[in-house]
């Protein structure tokens, strides 16, 4: 595993949540992101400023009628950073699983369960099911990440 691939900025769970939310959108209203990640406006603003300083998130302000609105979108830099970060995270999980298999914890195609290597930290048979993927639709892709998006 190359820890260098992990983005220090995205190691913060809140920032990772914000960037992940924006990854699925072309743009999103500040208010929607705030509700989705359950942050106060000032806390989100601070995180957005941090992400914006790195060039990950772009901010556009405007008015709809007389009401001020702020829209956020993930820049290409941010998207690439997220992809690299997720791949690096996936490698950590995969390496742990491989270590579990090498130690003979998995002989019948199932996760080692309680037989996993002590301290590997992966919830075998729990939130990380067989095959090294994490629950949810993207598991299969995660095992073989594709190239960066064109945006």
């Amino acid at each position: 595993m190359a820890p260098a691939d992990l983005d220090p900025l995205l190691l913060d769970p809140t920032r990772l949540s914000i960037v992940s939310l924006l990854a699925g959108t072309r743009w999103a209203e500040f208010g929607w992101v705030r509700e989705a990640v359950d942050l106060s406006a000032s806390a989100l603003s601070k995180q957005v400023t941090t992400l914006g300083a790195q060039g990950y998130v772009e901010v556009e302000k405007g008015y709809v009628g007389k009401r001020p609105r702020t829209w956020l979108n993930l820049s290409d830099t941010g998207r690439t950073a997220l992809e690299d970060h997720v791949r690096a995270l996936q490698r950590i999980v995969d390496a742990s699983r491989q270590a579990g298999r090498d130690h003979g914890g998995e002989t019948d195609g199932r996760p080692p369960g309680a037989g996993g290597p002590p301290g590997d930290g992966v919830p075998h048979g729990g939130s990380v099911p067989h095959g090294g993927s994490v629950p949810h639709g993207g598991g299969a892709e995660r095992r073989s990440p594709r190239g960066p998006s064109a945006g």
Partner: protein, 167 residues
């Protein structure tokens, strides 16, 4: 999370990434009035010839087209989408390719059937106020079932992007 997350932390972070991306689909919705406007527009478009004669279809067709074009243009701009009640715009890559294909096929089929029905005479279908009835059914269905229909379509549309935001 430390500089070097454990496998457990990494798995949780990956899970969160997926969950957040999926959350995007839940945000794709519009204000109720948009469905009402379209329902009424469909009803008027279909019912008008029954009351004002066939000649009115020229105007109703233009008016309906203008509404559709305006809606499409508004959806593509942040301010326009905000007026419509949309708080995000989904990336096209997030939509399942299979769903996108079916979506285009259905739209093409509807257009073809509509065009053919315009030019093919059907004297046996002389039901009085047929257009009004169809308009009321379609418009009413859109107003009443529009939001749940949209939710259903969105659930089918999930699955385009993978877990990392890559394609």
């Amino acid at each position: 999370m430390s500089d070097r997350p454990t496998a457990d932390e990494a798995a949780r972070a990956l899970d969160d990434v997926d969950r957040r991306r999926s959350q995007t689909f839940d945000s794709v919705g519009e204000s109720r009035w948009v469905g009402v406007v379209f329902g009424v527009a469909i009803f008027l478009f279909l019912a008008a010839p029954d009351f004002f004669g066939q000649g009115v279809t020229v105007w109703t067709s233009w008016a309906f087209t203008a509404i559709v074009v305006l809606y499409s243009v508004m959806l593509r701009s942040r301010r326009g989408a905000a007026v419509l009640g949309r708080r995000t715009r989904l990336r096209r890559q997030e939509v399942s390719p299979r769903f996108a294909l079916y979506h285009r096929v259905v739209i093409a089929a509807v257009l073809v059937v509509g065009l053919v029905s315009l030019f093919v005479p059907h004297p046996h279908l002389a039901v009085p106020y047929l257009r009004t009835i169809v308009g009321a059914l379609l418009g009413g269905a859109l107003i009443v079932f529009g939001p749940s229909l949209q939710t259903g379509l969105l659930s089918l549309a999930r699955g385009g992007g993978n877990a990392h935001g890559s394609r």
